[in-house]
């Protein structure tokens, strides 16, 4: 049978691991840096030189290739590997956004997005006129958005070949009317009832004092004192787990940690109740036999 000291140590370890993992699971910020856009193309047999992001609008023809390079960084200003980085090209006239998946390089630290306008399928998805370029990045915990600027597409719309699958078209944007927000209660009323809810606690304590409630059975012997105290501490740990779950954890973490703490609580509770039952049981001596 494990000693009370070992049981206390296991319980303490369980609580510490819970606290550390809760603090480790805090969400981190995500942002872009070193974002550079480059417009390569051949127009009248001349290359268009690299353009920095100082001016927010420039033009692209059907012979150009847009290359965007960026580094995704986390909260510590160190580059991190994002799960997805996407370049969005949104037509301001058609209100439609086309997404292009960016490729990662240098071990995932640098991302490169390429939109080749010479590629016919790519051109079919784009709309002429002014388009807004936006970078999107996401990890498991955080997301980031970076608006590069506007790009004027100076090419004619490509006539899409008819297909039996062309049954979908852009519908007008849905104008959803949200129901009005519910008004919270007045502060004074909330405060009064917050205090009012605590009044039954006073009634309970007064009743227990009047009934001479005591914890003599808890300290009847060493077994009840040890296991009773540990069981009470385990119940407090369960309530602490619920509090941390309310603030930070998700359901799976609650179930995981709850299983560990629940098993410990069940074992300690059983021992405490066995010790308590031993108080009421008569002790037979040789004299009785």
């Amino acid at each position: 049978m494990p000693s009370p000291t070992r049981l206390a140590a296991v319980l303490l370890l369980a609580i510490l691991s819970l606290v550390f993992s809760a603090s480790a699971s805090s969400p981190s910020a995500l942002s872009f840096r070193d974002v550079k856009a480059q417009l390569d193309g051949r127009e009248s047999a001349a290359l268009i030189t690299e353009k920095e992001l100082s001016s927010k609008t420039w033009q692209a023809s059907a012979l150009d290739k847009l290359i965007v390079n960026a580094v995704v960084q986390g909260s510590g200003d160190n580059p991190i590997v994002a799960r997805h980085v996407i370049l969005g090209v949104r037509s301001q006239e058609e209100k439609v956004e086309t997404s292009f998946l960016c490729k990662a390089s240098q071990g995932g630290r640098k991302v490169t997005c390429v939109v080749d306008f010479k590629d016919a399928p790519t051109l079919e998805t784009l709309n002429p006129g002014r388009n807004t370029l936006t970078l999107y990045a996401a990890t498991l915990d955080a997301t980031a958005t970076y608006v590069l600027g506007d790009l004027d597409f100076a090419f004619k719309p490509v006539a899409k070949p008819e297909s039996e699958f062309d049954v979908f078209s852009v519908l007008p944007e849905i104008a959803h009317t949200f129901r009005p927000d519910e008004k919270p209660a007045k502060k004074l009323l909330s405060l009064v009832f917050t205090i009012g809810v605590l009044v039954p606690w006073g009634v309970l304590l007064a009743s227990y004092v009047a009934l001479s409630a005591n914890v003599k059975n808890l300290f009847a012997n060493s077994l009840t004192a040890t296991f009773g105290s540990l069981f009470t501490a385990a119940l407090a740990a369960v309530m602490g787990l619920y509090y941390v779950y309310w603030l930070r954890l998700n359901l799976f973490q609650l179930l995981g940690y709850g299983t560990i703490i629940g098993c410990i609580t069940a074992a300690l509770g059983r021992q405490a109740l066995v010790a308590h039952a031993g108080i009421a049981a008569p002790v037979r001596t040789k004299k009785d036999m």
Binding site: K186, F193, W201, L204, S207, Y208, L211, S212, M239, T265
Partner: protein, 137 residues
């Protein structure tokens, strides 16, 4: 004529007096019964049962106060009200079950030890508060 009117007035006064006497007798009987109930409860109820009854009263008051608040202030936020009121109702039900199981008068029908009853109560309460915390929002 005057004599018949006088007789009518006398009989109605006597009827009123009789009904007043009946009401006061009923009130005295009720007071006696309530006093007898309280004395019997105090004398014959085990202390463990009284402690549970105090807890039941506490939980009931908490639920009533929450309900009155919702009636006055509205249901916002509704999930929090459900969590709090559900905790009160659930705790009341579990404590009432515990009271039934550890009552010595029910020992013949419910063959369960007080320790087992308390273990069931503790486990059920932990599960209940797990659901309550989920609803808090």
């Amino acid at each position: 004529m005057a004599k018949s009117v006088h007789n009518t007035q006398a009989s109605s006064a006597a009827a009123v007096q009789q009904s007043a006497q009946k009401v006061s007798k009923a009130a005295a009987t009720q007071a006696f019964l309530v006093k007898r109930l309280l004395n019997s409860y105090t004398a014959n109820t085990p202390q463990s049962i009284k402690l549970i009854d105090a807890y039941l009263l506490f939980v009931m008051l908490t639920g009533i106060i929450q309900f009155v608040y919702v009636v006055l202030a509205g249901t916002y936020p509704y999930n929090s009200f459900l969590a709090g009121f559900g905790a009160s109702v659930g705790s009341f039900v579990l404590a009432a079950n515990l009271r039934m199981q550890i009552n010595p008068q029910n020992k013949a029908e419910l063959n369960i030890s007080p320790e087992r009853a308390f273990a069931d109560f503790a486990f059920s309460s932990i599960v209940l508060f797990g659901f309550v915390v989920n609803f808090l929002g």
